[in-house]
């Protein structure tokens, strides 16, 4: 080995980790700014100082209610749910090595959403019950899609097609459940079909936070194994990754995060699908995509909610805005898949 090669290796490794640090730093800063703007802007504008006093628990006329009870839980839920969607999405995309294998394309969030709508509308369950229902359904869908597409191993394309079919069935089940609701209300329907932050409460926000605190570290503990899975199952296994154990841990953690977020906000369209590829583009292969994708997810939901609420004459739920962003990318990916002859 020559020293010039060693220098080059060290230099390129340092460059990668520095780039990763810079990217994560910028994303964190953007999330903080978007979060702050979401708290300040609305019918009435509040200064950062007023908001800070509300956060400290002081009574500020007007702001205490508007910021403390409406904007804070809403913005916090937006950031947390976005982070969960981003993490869960990139996990599936990495594990199955296909950007189309996102949980909102292959039916996992549809399952969680259908179960949550069923639990609320038909069973009249409370928030914890709804989350449990959503998680069981999310895991159930993951197992069904995985099993149906298993034939001498799981082929990505087969899994995606089966997942899209299952997602369509589950979405119609959600629509049916909503049509059975005693007091059929549009806001509720929007929430379970495209995702919405309307009526965000502290209770929901805390549930998502707890899920993130418990399941986030579990998922991050598998970051390196997921990173190795990018090389293909055989290569990863030959490099000492325990495939089955990694898959089970990662699926449980990712589905849990997605289901908790879905139970709180509904399946906010395409956030899980978009976050990973955007993160991959900006990180440029410098290490695991988990945290960057989570941050991109949080940023997407915060910005989309801001646009949905204030950019137009009518207020749109956040899922409508993310849907408008995500749909063209889905079409682009499908066209590219077609050109490449069916593989991604």
């Amino acid at each position: 080995m020559t020293t010039s090669t060693l220098d080059a290796v060290v230099r390129s490794r340092v460059r990668r980790s520095r780039r990763r640090g810079v990217v994560i730093g910028i994303l964190v800063a953007l999330v903080v700014i978007a979060y702050a703007v979401n708290l300040m802007v609305g019918e009435t504008f509040y200064t950062p100082y007023e908001i800070w006093r509300v956060i400290l628990g002081e009574t500020v006329p007007g702001a205490s209610f508007t910021v403390g009870e409406l904007r804070l839980p809403r913005a916090t839920l937006a950031a947390l749910a976005g982070f969960c969607f981003g993490l869960g999405g990139v996990t599936f995309q990495t594990m199955l090595r296909n950007p189309l294998a996102s949980p909102d394309v292959i039916g996992i969030t549809s399952g969680a959403s259908a179960a949550a709508a069923f639990a609320i509308v038909i069973l009249g369950l409370s928030e914890t019950g709804v989350s449990v229902f959503a998680i069981v359904a999310g895991l159930g869908v993951a197992i069904v899609v995985y099993t149906l597409s298993f034939r001498d191993g799981v082929a990505g394309t087969r899994l995606i097609l089966i997942g899209i079919g299952i997602a369509a069935m589950l979405d119609s089940a959600t629509a049916y459940v909503l049509s059975q609701a005693a007091q059929w209300d549009l806001q509720q329907a929007q929430r379970w079909l495209t995702g919405s932050l309307n009526g965000a409460t502290w209770d929901e926000t805390v549930q998502v936070l707890v899920a993130l605190v418990v399941l986030g570290p579990l998922l991050l503990s598998q970051a390196r194994n997921l990173f190795m899975l990018q090389l293909g199952d055989d290569t990863a296994a030959a490099l000492g990754v325990r495939l089955e154990r990694t898959r089970i841990l990662v699926i449980v953690a990712a589905v849990g995060l997605l289901a908790f977020a879905t139970a709180a906000t509904g399946p906010i369209a395409f956030v899980a699908f978009l976050s990973g590829p955007i993160a991959a583009r900006i990180v440029g292969g410098a290490g695991s995509l988990l945290v960057p994708a989570g941050l991109v997810g949080a940023l997407l939901v915060l910005v989309a909610d801001l646009i949905g609420q204030y950019a137009f004459d009518i207020r749109y739920p956040v899922g409508v805005i993310t849907g408008v962003l995500g749909a063209p990318y889905l079409v682009y990916l499908l066209i590219r898949t077609n050109r490449a002859g069916g593989s991604l």
Partner: protein
């Protein structure tokens, strides 16, 4: 890096679903030598290699590394002794050569351990050995087939295993790159004493580069031993169903198989 390890397969049966691919196979890989596995398409060569590196559990029988069953060894411990380069490994989009080669260090790293000096040295040595140091910052997508294959071999070298299994390392390469890859593996064997087991399609290159040749036919061992003894007209007929003439290669003294098809043969 000069430690020799025994690798044996005993009464091994392998299959997928209800299809049996390998039946009651016994073989021993000579330590510190180059072994080539040859056989017709779908005769179970790749399946055997996957099982030897614990990617496929045997139905019956054992794969033994130094007398221990590989399927019961901890994954990372095995990956520090035995490496595998699959037939078509996947390079993530945009990954650089040094990043890819660095991933070969995975079995040497613990959950929270930082990248060590030793890791850097192993990566640099692997790049130098495969003549890919000048590609270190290039994206793997941009490389030619031959360069890419050398990079994958560099990744396997960074793993620093004493035994290296390769599934058709020369497929999709033109003849000069095939020879280049096989020369590289021979260097590795001669300088570090690495035990090499590879599946090869080209019988003549297998006979030239291998110290030990294993011929499989229909999931069973047909012959194993010195290429001069294994590569015969009878073996070619039994394994490939092809008539041939085997002569001595004037450039290497190894056997050289000339296929006898229905056309253009004048003898």
């Amino acid at each position: 890096m000069t430690a020799t390890h025994s690798l044996e397969v005993s009464s091994l049966e392998l299959g997928y679903g209800d299809r049996t691919v390998i039946e009651s196979l016994d073989l021993t890989v000579p330590p510190g030598r180059i072994t080539a596995i040859v056989g017709a398409n779908a005769c179970g060569k790749s399946t055997l290699l996957r099982s030897m590196s614990r990617l496929l559990a045997p139905r019956t029988g054992h794969v033994l590394l130094d007398g221990r069953e590989v399927h019961k060894m901890p994954a990372k411990e095995l990956a520090r002794t035995l490496g595998l380069l699959p037939q078509s490994p996947i390079a993530p989009e945009g990954i650089t050569v040094s990043d890819l080669v660095g991933r070969g260090r995975n079995p040497h790293q613990r959950l929270l351990s930082r990248w060590s000096r030793e890791d850097d040295i192993a990566v640099a040595a692997a790049l130098d050995a495969t003549h890919t140091a000048d590609l270190a910052d290039r994206s793997v997508d941009e490389l030619s087939g031959g360069q890419r294959q050398r990079v994958w071999i560099a990744m396997a070298l960074a793993q620093q295993t004493d035994v290296l299994l390769l599934d058709e390392p020369t497929t999709f390469l033109d003849v000069s790159h095939q020879v280049e890859v096989l020369d590289l593996l021979t260097d590795l064997n001669q300088t570090r004493g690495t035990t090499i087991v590879m599946v090869l399609h080209d019988l003549n290159l297998a006979a030239r580069y291998a110290d030990h040749l294993i011929a499989l036919a229909d999931g069973k061992l047909h012959a194993a031993g010195d290429p001069a003894e294994v590569l015969t007209e009878d073996t070619v007929r039994a394994v490939f169903g092809l008539d041939s003439q085997v002569i001595t290669d004037p450039t290497s003294g190894k056997p050289l198989m000339l296929p006898l098809g229905r056309h253009h043969v004048t003898v």
